[in-house]
Symmetry: C2
Amino acid sequence: MAIIIQKFGGTSVADADKIKQAARRVIKATKKGYQVVVVASARGKQTDQLIADAHELNPNPPERELDQLLSTGEQQTVSLFAMALEAMGYKAISFTGAQIRMVTDSVHTKARIISIDSKRIHKELDEGKIVLVAGYQGIDKNGNVTTLGRGGSDTSAMALATALKAEECEIYTDVDGIYTTDPRLFGDAAKMERISYDEMLELSSLGANVMHTRAVEFGKKYDVKIHVRNSLKEDKGTIVTHEVPRMEDVVVSGATLQKELAKVDLINVDNKPGNAAKVFSHLAKAKVIINDIVQTEVSTEKANLSFTVDAAELKAAKETVEKIKDEVNCQNIFIRDDIAEVSVVGVGMRTHYGVADKLFSALAEAKVNIDSITTSEIRISCIVDKGQSKKALRAVCRAFELDKPAEQRKQTS
Amino acid sequence: MAIIIQKFGGTSVADADKIKQAARRVIKATKKGYQVVVVASARGKQTDQLIADAHELNPNPPERELDQLLSTGEQQTVSLFAMALEAMGYKAISFTGAQIRMVTDSVHTKARIISIDSKRIHKELDEGKIVLVAGYQGIDKNGNVTTLGRGGSDTSAMALATALKAEECEIYTDVDGIYTTDPRLFGDAAKMERISYDEMLELSSLGANVMHTRAVEFGKKYDVKIHVRNSLKEDKGTIVTHEVPRMEDVVVSGATLQKELAKVDLINVDNKPGNAAKVFSHLAKAKVIINDIVQTEVSTEKANLSFTVDAAELKAAKETVEKIKDEVNCQNIFIRDDIAEVSVVGVGMRTHYGVADKLFSALAEAKVNIDSITTSEIRISCIVDKGQSKKALRAVCRAFELDKPAEQRKQTS
């Protein structure tokens, strides 16, 4: 019998009615003949409440104890979920991460999964039970409870899909699927039927927070078919999968806007080997996460070094570069915190050359000035004025017809 | 180094302030040179809330899942307690029942402890840590979470005290110790310095709910010295221990009153072998718990059979005896739900004959009518009118001087 994983996030199990709704979704899958494994997060704001309880006792709670505390939220959800299924006449059994031996390393609050014992799960499924697994948690080799960090329940679901060789991993959420861009910024955004792991990763890292990057990476690595869908609707959502031939025709799949951004320019740095490394190793020591880096030669002796960071990281970044300014013989530092980044993402870019042209023309027609440009193999990003950023995103979405389903769009050369 | 167990009930860890207060109590014991193992219950009303959550989804939740759910309450307390201790500068580590392999049978919601792996606890204690163990819970041999039923955290504490060969098990609660009688009924009740396990068991089963019967039985079986004390005060509480020679002098240790009681009289039942068995096997099938039984011969052919039950069980008891009335050739059934039971308890009774006399005289002087009398080796109980019951208890307490410390009382012959 084919196995399907269904993962429900905190909003989809927030109260008794939501849990019942999710339970009916599970039952529907069993009626289609699937063996179902449910992965669930903590109910609604439970995790926030537990964190508040912890901070009331200790502003810096030891991470082992924090994991021990927070893991109870998911444990509560899955046992309640099992009770709901039993009340509806279905056999169900819930497990903690420890009970299915979801073994992780010992890095508390952001542990990585090493192995899962799938035997117990197969046994229960084969006895006709629906199996529920508490998301977000595991145990290390000494039996300490660990948690997997942000988006951890998605990662649990992916790991189970891999270990159980599931046909599909359904991620239930409060949106209909993955959109070509944020519908709050561009009302006509179209829902995507399919998207590749790579595109999803670029979109995730650019702030489209439907699934956490790590879970998508997991899906890509182990080739797990992901189906992102709305827990309240019957409609198909978006399938995340490896590229299929016809996806190549879609040059640009989606567009994103990152607004909370800042840019640091180091002007006229000595252009000699090791200087860039010096700058970024100091930033790494200060735990500043860098988004994009651009270095341009000014002369044979001098170069400009620019990088972007999340707005929240600007203070630390600024302090760090000011400290090493003289060391790299930097003439001047410019800081901009009034910028935003508009990006287009699509696997088709690899083989189509007209994307950059169409992007820059769209921005020019909308009279948006481009500060700088960076690219990856499947992404082009432009830094623009924050004040012009929404206009810029809309212009880009119209140019690439992101309001239409992929197959109705005109080809980009 | 000597080990001490400190058990904190739900009211003693209800909020952050209470947890801090309990933590200071633990630190005090470490400063005296003890290795401390803390057993804690769920915070305040947490368990009630979880049960309500469960019933919202399933009026008859499967017991395995209920255990999986409820055990999170204690897990939360011990991790928060550990955080509080760390914030105060002490090394601490919390464990679930599963993590210290508190193995039980598989009788969910009222499991019995089989074994504890004390190695991990000793290791952590020897590293200078305070160890916290979630009360009320264990795991069965298949790794399912079990709970120990009412008063379960007391039982966890006793089991740990036994496994770790602790010097003492301190039970922290919201009263000062064990009293000669309920201070709400007899304001002058005296706190006892010491009480034997057997007396404590009689008092517990008669409704003095400071500790659950099962935990006291455990203490008796494995000879664990118990110290019941107030979590908010420094004063010594009451020591529960095996009889010591000087305890023999104390003829009556305490008195109790059970008010929610009912009595069923089967009049003129055929006095032949097997009739009593028939009545009580039907009552057992109906799951009616019987308190006391009295059978008296009326003639060679006929007998009266009486028993008392908790008021809540009366309906089921009545229906049962009415069904088998003809089978045992019972002439009449009398029901009384306006009764109460006054009891005196004391190990000294075994060797002193004047107790019954003093008890009946006290009730007679107070003009309290006695309906019936039952006795055990260390207890005498009288059924009286509910309306006279408080007066009866007070008369008994005065007669046995239960307002005074044991050593100041006059001897009963």
